[in-house]
């Protein structure tokens, strides 16, 4: 599912900044931009000071999924992993960003009566959180399974159920009736009330299940495999999800990452190898791809 972007990059002012666990959430004014679809992303660069980080980088803009969108605002969530996210993390209200988007293909709402399972972790949260809001708005009951390093990172789960760029409380529990929170106009395609049940796994056991999120996913699918899995997270996790779903013949949609320069198909830099031997550009053919098209999720 794709919403087209205005042509070119545009400026947007930062309206606020939050810390959510180990993550930074930045809210940006985007008054004239279209409403994006979950799984889509934006290319972002700061207007000032882009280029003077470690090793004279960043140079190209950075791809970030939107976490929330609405009321003329977009929000993004990230962790400091390099010069680009470090610079973005230094943004304060009033600072300006260049943004291009929404870009790429988002998740497909093709449940065919199956239940929705959202699996992911770390900075894979934003598209899943945005997706959970849409599913809730459509009255789809969802199971959300998230893996984190530890409790500090797991606090990132609180963005779930926020929608529209706001951040509300949440945790390892049902988030309540989602339809009430989502955009009222959405058709009620789900069988349920749009409730989301979130389970967490942590590496160190400090919150939720002590172990991997794929263990939660395995148990969940063992219990009921009439599901579609929507996943986003680090490559190794996505590959584990892919393999697990493939083995159980459960359809899965994976929101991939790749090093990008342009985000709109111009550079052919962001490819992932497909099962048929060809390469797909993650930015225009994805970032959400049907897991069946991949033999494996590459390590980078």
């Amino acid at each position: 599912m794709r919403v087209q972007a205005p042509f070119g990059r545009r400026r947007g002012a930062v309206t606020g900044v939050d810390d959510v666990g180990a993550y930074r959430v930045v809210h940006v004014a985007d008054l004239d931009g279209p409403q994006p679809w979950p799984g889509q992303f934006y290319m972002l660069a700061t207007v000032e000071g882009w280029g003077a980080g470690e090793d004279e980088r960043p140079f190209v803009p950075r791809a970030l999924s939107f976490l929330g969108a609405g009321n003329g605002q977009l929000s993004f969530m990230f962790e400091d992993v390099g010069p680009g996210t470090r610079r973005l993390g230094a943004l304060r209200a009033g600072d300006e960003l260049w943004l291009t988007g929404p870009l790429g293909d988002g998740f497909e709402l093709s449940l065919d009566g199956r239940r929705a399972v959202l699996a992911g972790g770390g900075v894979g949260i934003p598209p899943l959180s945005a997706w959970a809001s849409i599913l809730a708005a459509h009255g789809v009951d969802t199971t959300v399974l998230l893996g984190f390093r530890d409790a500090v990172h797991a606090a990132g789960v609180t963005v779930f159920g926020g929608g529209g760029g706001e951040v509300s409380e949440g945790g390892d529990a049902a988030l309540g009736d989602g339809a009430a929170r989502g955009s009222g106009a959405a058709p009620h395609i789900g069988a349920g009330s749009g409730a989301a049940v979130v389970s967490i796994a942590t590496d160190d056991g400090s919150v939720g299940h002590h172990g991997l999120v794929t263990e939660l996913l395995g148990s969940s699918l063992d219990a009921d495999d009439h599901a579609v899995v929507y996943a986003c997270g680090p490559p190794a996790m996505l590959e584990a999800v892919r393999a697990l779903c493939a083995a159980r013949r459960v359809p899965a949609q994976l929101a991939l990452e790749a090093g990008m320069a342009c985000g709109f198909g111009a550079c052919f830099g962001c490819v992932v190898a497909l099962r048929d031997g060809s390469y797909a550009r993650v930015c225009v053919d994805g970032p959400v791809l049907d897991a069946a098209r991949l033999d494996a999720v590459p390590a980078h």
């Binding site: 004279e56 342009c262 111009a266 550079c267």
Partner: protein, 314 residues
């Protein structure tokens, strides 16, 4: 800005795209018809087309360098037949003339490409990418004036369309190569292509990051190298030149034009700013207006004189 004549093509302004740096078909999927209404270039240069389809290099294909980017894309394309069938109709729908860029690993391959494109009205001009190793010498054909001359000699009779030779910067004296292209009847040259470069995976102890091992450096880092090469070529030949390399602002375009280019191509900057072509052509236009307003007196010199006469300058 008055229209520019480039090998008989009348273009609205001097800014085109660098081959392989703007996929107008993917951009239309992303941005819709807005792309056509505000098309950033005065002519569209296709990515390099080869006779047979190519998948391109394995990823990673990009490395972010200092004020630049290394790519080892590996020229993925549908091949000639796929280009003619799938891409050409869509590219013909663009509001500007189409320049198709081709490469072959033998003269015969290139000849086949040129003949096929010569037959298509949608193609306004042909650009020849000669950054391709000569099977005998191992050197890029474009690095060696003798191989290049032989190639152009074979191709020139095959088309009456403008033939642009895209030179490689990875050579000892690009002006000598350009002179060889001119002598054999090329209509224009374009330069610079990317500088050969590589990077290792962080902390890997020397494992090349790029799937293609070595790639090409583009962006601001190469701008001053591009300006030197364009100036050197312009001093040697009289053919029109498409200058490129690290252009991110109208001032850079104006420098390349001042060095002797007729057109300026924008490559990597379109990645950072999809509508960079439009912005740069506007910036260029303002500069040109400001300069002609000062009735051919050098604006900067005039400014310097003003400063020197101010009290601060005492």
């Amino acid at each position: 800005m008055s229209p520019v004549d480039f090998c008989g093509l009348v273009l609205e302004h001097p800014i085109v795209n660098g081959s392989g740096t703007f996929d107008a078909i993917a951009a239309r999927r992303t941005f819709g018809d807005a792309l056509l209404h505000a098309f950033p270039f005065s002519a569209f240069v296709s990515k390099t087309i080869t006779l047979l389809p190519r998948a391109g290099n394995p990823p990673p294909r990009l490395w972010e360098a200092q004020a630049g980017l290394i790519n080892s894309i590996g020229l993925p394309n549908r091949g000639l037949a796929g280009y003619l069938e799938h891409d050409l109709p869509q590219l013909a729908a663009l509001p500007v003339p189409l320049i198709t860029n081709v490469m072959g690993s033998t003269a015969g391959e290139v000849a086949e490409l040129v003949e096929a494109l010569d037959a298509r009205d949608e193609v306004a001009a042909i650009e020849l990418n000669v950054s391709c190793p000569n099977v005998k010498t191992g050197l890029d054909i474009g690095a060696d004036p003798v191989s290049l001359a032989a190639l152009i000699r074979a191709l020139r009779p095959l088309t009456s369309k403008p033939l642009i030779v895209k030179l490689t910067p990875n050579t000892a004296d690009v002006a000598v190569v350009a002179a060889a292209a001119e002598a054999e009847g090329a209509d224009a040259v374009s330069l610079i292509n990317t500088l050969r470069a590589t990077a290792f995976a962080p902390g890997s102890g020397g494992r090349p990051w790029l799937g293609g091992v070595t790639g090409g450096l583009s962006g601001p880092a190469i701008r001053t190298v591009a300006l030197a090469q364009v100036a050197a070529v312009a001093r040697r030949i009289t053919l029109p030149i498409v200058g490129m390399g690290g252009v991110t602002h109208g001032t850079h375009a104006r420098d390349l034009l001042a060095a002797g280019a007729t057109l300026v191509a924008v490559g990597t900057e379109s990645f950072r700013d999809p509508a960079a072509g439009t912005r740069i052509s506007r910036e260029l236009k303002s500069l040109q207006i400001a300069e002609s307003a000062s009735s051919n007196i050098d604006v900067y010199q005039a400014q310097v004189e003003v400063d020197a006469n101010s009290a601060d300058a005492g």
